[in-house]
Symmetry: C2
Subunit: 204 residues, 2 copies
DNA sequence: AAAATAGTTGACTATTTGGTCTAGTGCCAT
DNA sequence: ATGGCACTAGACCAAATAGTCAACTATTTT
């Protein structure tokens, strides 16, 4: 075995936070090392480059976040409820982030994806794949909602694309404007976008 | 007067293209100078920094693009027509870009805004202001459409936010996936999102 | 034609950055 | 306890980068 260490995790956390709070291009390896409390020698012991580290960090983060989404989008939950919960979860998440970082940061994958889309091919492919998976959650919720007669959406995949674009647009705008209020409308926007027939009948 | 030059414009064009095709963080002053065919001394003769140049370039570009939007969103055009034309214009624009740069690049302001949101405050404010203006075009088209009874949108500002988020999300996804097809759906997505009552009755 | 103005040039510096290399250091299995 | 393994420290290097400067050039004004 030999010596053990959590430097690898510390590096992955550091790069995640730095890219998210700033950008990929503006975070340097030195910065990452300093934030992680790791010397450059150790950095290059574990990773080949910033892109390599970022790729590993993305994988790790997705592995971590996925169960939460699985539970939010559980088939046992009514489909429109899933979407509502997802919006609320996202909104709460961004609120925590704002408390922790002082800024609304939006979706890390989407921002990163947009930034490096024409560079870092390997990283890009990874991001695309995860975004595709995220869209699948929406797609199946929409399909279920359609099957239940709650909405009219014969092409669930197309509707999911629309809804996903809307979410990502909202999150990115929240980042650009540094404003959480933008996210407040998400649930209503979702229902309107899907043309939900009976938007939450108020209990009399 | 003294000597005349178009180096300033060349620098602004260069930075626009480089940031758009790549990212803000990854474009260096040397690169900009080389692309513009301008020496560093001249760069610093005209601008204080990369951020300063970028700000000037954004202003110039907006001044250039604004008349096109004014004409697309002319009040003389039926409101839903305006949105359709806008989508088609955007789609055509991205197609040209792809031919020229080899990649779908999306909305330069939005990508840049997302990248530098936590840095470069001055630049950020400028971007926010222009994005706000762009949203206004949508807002007034939606208000007119509502007034004409074409859609139900009592809160035009809110609907415009939703639609704008959708557009930006779409464009950014097109960039991330490097896929023009994503934009094809824009018009239909718009109509669905707005709940247009009679989506283009086919001529019998 | 001279002077003032506007812009250009390229060499120069200091710093940051990515990346390497070697000598170590602590931990685990045997 | 010792030898091998996983990891660390940090000095070091070359290239890239931001930014400066003084001498020079072209154009306009007078």
């Amino acid at each position: 075995m030999g010596r053990v260490s959590n430097a690898k995790q510390r590096l992955m956390e550091a790069v995640r936070d730095l890219i998210w709070a700033g950008s990929y291009g503006s975070t340097t390896i030195d910065q990452i090392c300093e934030k992680a409390g790791v010397k450059k020698g150790s950095f290059y012991y574990f990773f080949d480059s910033k892109a390599d580290l970022a790729a590993a960090a993305i994988d790790a983060e997705w592995k971590l976040r996925r169960p939460e989404l699985d539970s939010l989008f559980s088939a046992t939950v009514p489909p429109l409820e899933r979407l509502r919960k997802y919006c609320e979860y996202g909104c709460g998440f961004q609120t925590e982030i704002k408390e922790k970082f002082g800024c609304v940061l939006g979706c890390p994958l989407f921002s990163l994806g947009a930034e490096i889309s024409t560079q870092e091919d390997r990283l890009q492919k990874k991001i695309q794949a995860i975004l595709d998976q995220k869209r699948k959650y929406l797609e199946s919720a929409i399909r279920d909602a359609h099957a239940a007669g709650l909405i009219h959406a014969p092409d669930a995949a197309a509707k999911a694309r629309t809804l996903f674009a809307y979410y990502q647009g909202l999150l990115t705008e929240a980042r650009i404007q540094n404003d959480l209020e933008i996210l407040r409308y998400a649930v209503r926007g979702t229902y309107e976008l899907l043309g939900v027939k009976d938007p939450e009948p108020a209990p009399t």
